[in-house]
Symmetry: C2
Subunit: 143 residues, 2 copies
Amino acid sequence: MEDGTFKSLGYCESTADDYDVKQWDTREDCEVRQILDRVADKWSLLVIALLDCQSLRFTQLRREIDGVSQRMLSVTLRHLERDGLVSRTVHPVVPPRVDYALTPLGRTLHQTIKALVIWTEEHQQEIARARADYDARREMMDA
Amino acid sequence: MEDGTFKSLGYCESTADDYDVKQWDTREDCEVRQILDRVADKWSLLVIALLDCQSLRFTQLRREIDGVSQRMLSVTLRHLERDGLVSRTVHPVVPPRVDYALTPLGRTLHQTIKALVIWTEEHQQEIARARADYDARREMMDA
DNA sequence: CGGGATCCGGAGGGATACTG
DNA sequence: CAGTATCCCTCCGGATCCCG
């Protein structure tokens, strides 16, 4: 809001000669870049995907996400909570019970994450084939 | 296709009691997980986003993506090429000229990546606010 | 210009133990 | 159960050199 620092949605459209190729702010200290780095985290992505329209407890998430350590799950959840994407609800019972769920903001992000997961599922064969082709070609080269 | 290994798009829908929370294959060796890890890479994401509807040379990409080393850009591009998302065109001239562009498959992925970037741009203030709130609350606790 | 090969430091992340 | 704290090590990724 403050100033016009962000070129934002200039995306495609004008291929105006060879004037300037850059279409949005890619500077490393850019806010968008930092958020993207967070979103582009493998664990974050899986957590958000799993919290579709349900809330889950810590251990449930740990079980569902194969390969995540309790440490990384803990760190990831705290990051997501800090970013306002996931809510953390502590139930004052014993043994303790903590529920994680998407916030309204997190739910909007979930839509695009879900699109990503679906894309992956729909194109996994194509990618597997591309990889096989590439590897085969490389092996030809070496021989 | 082969067998019913992938639960795939079972996503939300039935919250059928507490039978089984898992809604898609989250195993670490799962194909989807591996592709997701690739897509969830920060450099991959930026490269795909930048190759919107233009093809770019190595050095152009390097310039546009602030902070990327030539090594990581090189590695990233080779991965994307292997996955069939980016095409690499070598022009037999001197000095050498190599153009990178999205393949048709890459272009389909670009749609959802673009959605992600746009989401980030649209919600950066909300996230910044959430982070500030969280940090403020934490500082209260410590004091 | 467009990379590949090598070296290397530091952070990311695993395993374990402990606490409320 | 739901974490935090500590230790420790891998490997990610930057810097540098070199070649076609």
